[in-house]
């Protein structure tokens, strides 16, 4: 309507009166500014209803939200923005939630289960899991080592060769070290090989074949 009114009625193709603008009236001009962010209120809001019911429901609401904030369902984001680090921060994390939530995993899809490690963590028996396989492995390997060592000792005792025994023991005690060293050597060799065949070298043009190329190009070039 504002756009049409711009012509003040003269240039408009239709009868302005049809829009409800009578002859004497000046049509409203175009709006050039956005409406104010906080327009003045013509009608004041009605006062809120007051009753005991509402007060009670309000109290219930507050209590409910208060519970939710403290419940284990309220998920704290890990990186809390803080103004400063406080000494008391250390002791506050434990007080945030009321009790623990142990979900019944029958009601949830399997993929939502936290990874095993996490479950152990919640249970408080954190150090057990990583220790079990490691200790078992070491035990078995130790046993094997001692067995082999004993065998070797017997053999060597039979042979009664003292120097050989010492060497054998060293080898048996640190087989890892040796392999590591071997690996290191291998890697070094690889690196050397790579340096030899570095691709930059092959693409380096020292300009010796410059003229030859030109000659060839002339031969291949178009004949006029």
């Amino acid at each position: 309507m504002a756009g049409r009114g711009r012509g003040r009625g003269r240039t408009v193709s239709f009868n302005v009166e049809a829009l409800g603008i009578n002859k004497g009236e000046v049509p409203i001009g175009p709006v050039l500014q956005p409406p104010p962010l906080f327009p003045p209120q013509e009608f004041k809001p009605v006062p809120l209803k007051q009753s005991e019911d509402y007060e009670y429901i309000c109290a219930l609401k507050k209590e409910f939200i208060g519970f939710m904030k403290k419940s284990p369902y309220y998920i704290q984001s890990k990186e809390k923005r803080k103004d400063i680090d406080r000494y008391s921060d250390k002791y506050q994390s434990g007080q945030d939630t009321l009790g623990q939530w142990n979900p019944d995993w029958r009601m949830f899809p399997d993929e939502l289960k936290p990874a095993e490690k996490k479950v152990r963590k919640f249970g408080g028996s954190k150090p057990i899991k990583p220790n079990i396989p490691a200790s078992k492995k070491s035990k078995t390997s130790e046993k094997e080592i001692t067995k082999t060592l004993e065998k070797l000792e017997k053999k060597e005792a039979a042979m009664t060769d003292k120097e050989g025994e010492e060497e054998e023991e060293e080898e048996g005690a640190n087989p890892e070290k040796k392999t590591e060293e071997d690996l290191d050597l291998d890697i070094d060799e690889e690196i050397d090989e790579e340096e030899e065949t570095d691709y930059i070298l092959t693409y380096f043009d020292n300009g010796e074949t410059y003229g030859d190329d030109d000659d060839d190009d002339d031969g291949d070039g178009p004949i006029y």
Partner: protein, 531 residues
């Protein structure tokens, strides 16, 4: 879903479950359906955090999941159930008014936890009640009392079982057992329920850390929001009639609704017919209403312009039905009228009522009917038109639709207006929560924190049996100006919260009306197809 609604959903999620849940929920709301990994990727939280959020949302029945054709799980979110969290205090209050304090605590416990085992609920509520009772110096109560209340709530369908995820194979007991209470305390029963060897094995593995398997393991309960809504809807109609006619008429309607409740589908627009005798027999004995008077009341309500009930037959002393859709339309219309009155003034309300009465009216006629001068009427109409409270329909005399040869008829579309006002309510609610957050965090969280700490110290002194001078000293750490500030913040927050509750009342009326309007439309469609 509209912008306002999703904003409101987000703020509710944030209030209830924290910022991580808000972000994840926001992406779910946007995409409607989402797989876990994709969701974690989009929301930029770690997989573990996303899993945790989904678990919490599933626990609170906000999310659901389905398996797609490839076998991957996809998660859905229900915005309606998020919005219902605003109404939780109302539900709790409902349970209180119907069945007393114990039921209130039962409802609260279940709403707080989303889904829960019956034994757990009964145990927790009994503990809480006993704590409160011993503090007040009353004797303790037994858990059977709480159990009875729980049974009451289940039998009246306010609580229902959650969908059983564990044994989906036997689908026969999915529908009929929604409200069946498991028998507890007998070992025999437990064995008979666990006839599924796979689940038994699973259970043993899963529940090994727990001390003991409760008798009703695997049967979780949740609140049935629809039933609560039905009760609140009835309450709305009763208060409307009570204020229009008198309190006794309200009681008559309450009885009528209670009788109908057992007989008819809760979602039908009109209830099944009930005879006068049935209503009379169902009236409370101490009410003191004779049969004659009851008949007068019923005819009075049915002849009223609001058409809450109507007489369908003369047999059996008169058969009556409750027109739920019509009643809700009336209530919604009167709500909308009061919105027009408060937004635009009484003159606009006059025009609005003319439009409601005469349906399609030209501007000239409006001026005449509403007795308002032409110039003023034009401005008022424009005001309402620009805010989408009224609409026009063009009827051209000639095919060229030239404005000079066209009738512009104004009209009010209650259905659309209800949607529009509902949108505005969402926005108002969102604004209120934003404002509340602002009040609580920006300016005064430090002060509130301080007060909380002082209160805690005073409480601890009380416990330790300290004297008053000590308490006074600590109380004086909050200066009078600080105290004033705290008081103003508290008052503002209180006001905003009351405001939220009252906006929700309006939202409830409009939602109910729109729901039944939809039901009505569906009914008409099926009727047309039959023809």
């Amino acid at each position: 879903m509209s912008h306002n609604k999703s904003n409101l959903c987000k703020s509710i999620l944030k209030d209830n479950f924290g910022e991580v849940a808000e972000a994840v929920g926001c992406h779910l709301l946007k995409d409607n359906i989402c797989a876990l990994r994709y969701l974690a990727l989009k929301s930029k939280f770690s997989l573990e955090q996303t899993k945790k959020v989904l678990c919490v949302l599933l626990q609170h029945n906000i999310c659901d999941y389905i398996t797609d054709s490839k076998g991957t799980l996809e998660y859905l979110i229900d915005s309606e159930i998020i919005l219902r969290r605003i109404r939780f205090p109302n539900y709790i209050y409902c349970a209180k008014t119907l069945y007393g304090d114990a039921a209130e605590l039962v409802a609260e416990e279940i709403l707080q936890n989303g889904q829960m085992l019956m034994t757990q609920v009964v145990k927790n509520v009994t503990n809480k009640l006993n704590e409160a009772l011993t503090n007040a110096g009353h004797p303790e109560i037994a858990s059977s009392f709480v159990q009875e209340k729980f049974n009451c709530l289940v039998n009246t369908h306010f609580l229902q079982r959650c969908k059983n995820r564990t044994n989906t194979s036997n689908s026969e007991d999915v529908t009929d057992d929604l409200y069946k209470i498991p028998v507890t305390g007998s070992r025999k029963r437990k064995h008979s329920t666990d006839n599924n060897p796979v689940s038994l094995k699973k259970r043993r593995i899963l529940d090994s850390p727990e001390k003991e398997e409760p008798d009703d393991a695997g049967i979780y309960w949740k609140a049935n929001f629809d039933r609560f809504h039905q009760y609140m809807r009835d309450q709305l109609m009763i208060t409307a009639i009570a204020s229009k006619v008198d309190k006794k008429a309200g009681e008559v309607l309450r009885t009528l609704l209670r009788v109908c409740e057992l007989k008819s589908d809760p979602y039908s627009t009109v209830t099944n017919a009930v005879t006068l005798t049935e209503i009379f027999n169902a009236l409370p004995k101490d009410f003191g209403l004779t049969r004659k008077l009851l008949q007068i009341y019923l005819s009075m309500i049915s002849e009223d312009s609001t058409c809450f009930i109507s007489k369908v037959d003369e047999s059996g002393g008169g058969m009556y039905v409750v027109n739920i859709y019509k009643a809700l339309t009336q209530i919604a219309t009167s709500h909308l009228e009061s919105v027009v009155l408060e937004r635009f003034g009484s003159k606009c309300l006059r025009i609005f009522r003319v439009l409601l009465l005469k349906k399609h009216v030209e501007q000239k006629q409006i001026e005449d009917f509403a007795m308002i001068s032409a110039k003023e009427a034009k401005e008022l109409l424009y005001n309402m038109f620009s805010q989408k409270f009224i609409t026009t329909s063009e009827i051209a005399k000639t095919p060229d639709h030239a404005p000079s040869r066209t009738f512009y008829l104004f009209k009010v579309d209650i259905h659309k207006l209800a949607q529009h006002v509902l949108e505005r309510s969402y926005k108002a609610m969102y604004n209120a929560t934003l404002r509340k957050d602002n009040e609580l965090t920006e300016h005064s969280w430090r002060l509130l924190d301080k007060q909380e700490r002082v209160d805690a110290i005073i409480a601890s002194i009380d416990q330790a049996g300290g004297d008053d001078t000590q308490k006074d000293e600590i109380e004086q750490t909050i200066t009078p100006t600080e105290r004033d500030q705290i008081d103003t913040v508290k008052r503002t927050v209180q006001m905003l919260e009351t405001c939220e509750i009252q906006i929700d009342d309006t939202m409830f009326v409009l939602e109910m009306y729109l729901f039944y309007a939809n039901q009505d439309r569906l009914l008409k469609c099926t009727q047309k197809k039959k023809k």
